[in-house]
Symmetry: C2
Subunit: 458 residues, 2 copies
């Protein structure tokens, strides 16, 4: 019997994360005064041990044993050959995928949720708050909090809260609390409701509510948690790529191409960063983050200083951004509807170490459908964006007659996103590409912000 | 790092199924004339190669390579230590679970769906029909048909069709067709609609529709498929227990107790039968099928001849049955709401080789919630019935201070059944136990049927 999956022995699980900050130079985040922000300023929002990790430039950072212990529920995750998909495409390429859908919440998100909750617990925190859009991140944090006996409060954007009741049930099954945002429980929520009692909510408002609750707890026992964008989140996800490298070595393969979808950037970073390190050290390898054409921060937006949230609570981050007030078209890959891109991922694009790509929603669903009918597992809409590029590259390899090795990150299954497939099969999914005019409009918000190239003035 | 899961190398996947008919004597199924039915009589419904398998008494039956090839998408499945659950219960018992939720449809059902579709394909069949209640079986058959390029038509009980739209989307994503039953596409469906245009449908009507479509295809290219109860279905599921035995041997463990939930009997049989063989050969081991107190066929109903379906289309099967017209209380474990029990499982209970148990719905959900909050994966409602007994046995081991080894079958995840958990947490889940009066009433239907003990007259 052929081995479809390469299984890494439990003893071989990576024991350190790879920190890309050891290999690239980054612009610092800026405070409200336009000057580099000091770690202390973030202390009411994040625990100090995570803030230290956020700014660390140490190359290898130990993964704490209690974190490994929870990760071992589903890790090491399999690296699997997509031979049925290859056959359907008639490609000589060998396609491998790292399967992150085997975690209890069904995505890569718990890789960082578990670590963040652990560090908060060690720091003496009792309650975690966060926001969630489609629900993947809120579910992951609720799961992680259950493992460490922490309280979890998730502000879920109202429109998703109403459309996806099962996500709330999932969070509650893990003992979390999930409220529709805007809620009456915070000033930010009450203000939003006063402005528009019928508002569908937004990620911006939900972030404001979650931060307000964390900062407002005068006992100091509550902190906020973010599921992407920040350096420490990318760090925690590198276990994906570190496992993949070991697994590829076990079968004497090395990738020609690495592919991951990119919203805030964390799953892409997780698979790609360990291979970026190889590339910095001279390896020949193509690394492609894939984003929707409806939300093309890396492929089309400039590298600027912008806020990470719509409500402008966060420091100014150096990143490719469509503007913090940008509202993307209603594509089904909710996790890829973010206006900016992780500063680390943005910087790698600036340096030409990775090559951003974008795809249309229908080609993504088409690839997802072919995948489901050949490889079985129904992919999350986010994952199908990566798959669309995998198809393009596999067909290119076929044209060129080259046995390329393609490795991509299968971020999660789509069992809670089946409505999207239903619409696609009924011909009701539209393609969206951001117009130049709308892009210019959305980016006007940071016209007066400091520019990364002016940084030397600090 | 400790190994939480025991991973069987791909080369060690079982290459033969274990056939319990080689080790026990069974009463034959009877035809409409009350005499043992001849294999030919089933030819319009099932392909002859599967009918031969149904009556085979050969102990080991080779698993065809193309079946192994599809199973290898998710098999060998992990055997995992539930150490976090053990700790929460404070038990000295070592609890292991065989995780069947990693299949693309999320349950153990594709183990037989893949085999059945393969044998149909080899026999020259092009179209498969079946019925589905909650949707697990229909999803599994649609997935299997996609792998072999077969057409799949699923009649889904209308009330489930309306309540669980994602199951339909899932089947369609795999290329299947799913229609609400009763439909206007069959005589049985039209008759049912004429009787009551607002009927919520029933498994009985859906079976009638699926069989009618298969038998009615005059080209002979269509056959019907059943997801439980029959001997060949139990056979295909034994890969679960055969894998588990190898995995336990790898860590020098042998179970004191085997537990599986039992509706039609197939997941229970899959894990248990290879251990039943050991028991027949003298091993000391307790084997417990668990059913809901709302549908207690094995624990309370007599061993009789009864039809497998409400519409009385099937032969008379020798089994423990609550009567083919029995309508169980609306418990959430839809897969356990079957009036009868697989003849093989029934026979093992008769011979004292297995010891049937029953549990209440709320203790099942309570166990499921504890599981989700400790081990992470949210169990399907069916699985929680097994879990409720695992909890009882683990606490008994604690009381007795014994290091018992408990192995149970984790039939599937509950990601498409979260509504049940939501209701449970809201205190809206009721316990149902069948009353003696209702049981007597439901069993009156087979008062005049032949009795298994009269069989010698044939």
């Amino acid at each position: 019997m052929r081995a479809k999956s390469v299984i890494l022995p439990a003893t071989e699980i990576p024991r350190q994360w790879y920190n890309i900050l050891s290999d690239i130079k980054m612009n610092p985040p800026l405070g409200p005064d336009g000057k580099p922000i000091q770690p202390d300023a973030l202390a009411p929002v994040f625990p100090m041990n995570l803030i230290e990790q956020e700014v660390s430039t140490q190359r290898w950072i130990d993964i704490p044993e209690p974190v490994l212990d929870v990760l071992s529920i589903w890790r090491p995750a399999p690296l699997t050959r997509a031979d049925r998909f290859e056959k359907a495409l008639g490609t000589p390429a060998r396609i491998y995928f790292k399967y992150e859908g085997c975690s209890p919440p069904g995505s890569h998100k718990p890789n960082t949720a578990v670590a963040q909750v652990y560090y908060n617990k060690v720091f003496g925190i009792k309650n975690m708050t966060t926001e969630t859009g489609a629900g993947q991140w809120g579910s992951a944090l609720a799961f992680a909090c259950a493992q460490f006996g922490m309280n979890c409060k998730v502000y879920m954007v109202r429109i998703s809260f109403d459309q996806k009741p099962y996500r709330k049930a999932m969070m509650e099954t893990w003992g979390g609390t999930c409220v529709a945002s805007p809620s009456t429980q915070t000033q930010a929520g009450r203000d939003a409701l006063a402005r528009d009692p019928e508002t569908p909510g937004s990620l911006g408002i939900a972030i404001s509510e979650a931060i307000e609750e964390a900062v407002g707890d005068t006992t100091g026992q509550t902190r906020y948690s973010l599921g992407s964008v920040l350096n420490h989140v990318m760090l925690h996800q590198t276990i994906i790529g570190l496992e993949a490298k070991k697994q590829l070595a076990m079968i004497n393969e090395y990738p020609d191409i690495i592919i991951g979808c990119a919203g805030g950037g964390s799953n892409f970073a997780g698979l790609a960063f360990p291979f970026v390190q190889d590339k910095i050290n001279g390896k020949q390898i193509e690394i492609y983050p894939v984003e929707p054409k409806a939300c093309p921060s890396l492929t089309r937006a400039p590298f600027v200083y912008d806020h990470g949230d719509t409500a402008r609570y966060t420091p100014l981050l150096p990143m490719h951004s469509l503007g913090h007030a940008f509202v993307p078209a209603p594509i089904h890959a909710g996790g890829l509807r973010y206006h900016g891109m992780a500063p680390t991922v943005s910087q790698l694009a600036n340096e030409g170490l990775i090559t951003p790509k974008s795809v249309f929603q229908t080609e993504a669903f088409q690839a997802g459908l072919l995948w489901a009918r050949t490889e079985g597992v129904i992919p999350a809409p986010e994952t199908t964006n990566a798959l669309a590029l995998v198809v393009q590259e596999a067909l290119k390899a076929k044209e060129e007659g080259k046995e390329k090795v393609i490795v991509f990150n299968f971020t999660g299954h789509g069992l809670l996103d089946l409505a999207g497939y239903e619409k696609f099969m009924a011909g009701k999914i539209m393609d969206f590409a951001l117009s130049d005019e709308d892009m210019a409009k959305s980016m006007s918000v940071f016209a007066d912000f400091p520019k990364p190239q002016d940084l030397k003035s600090f």
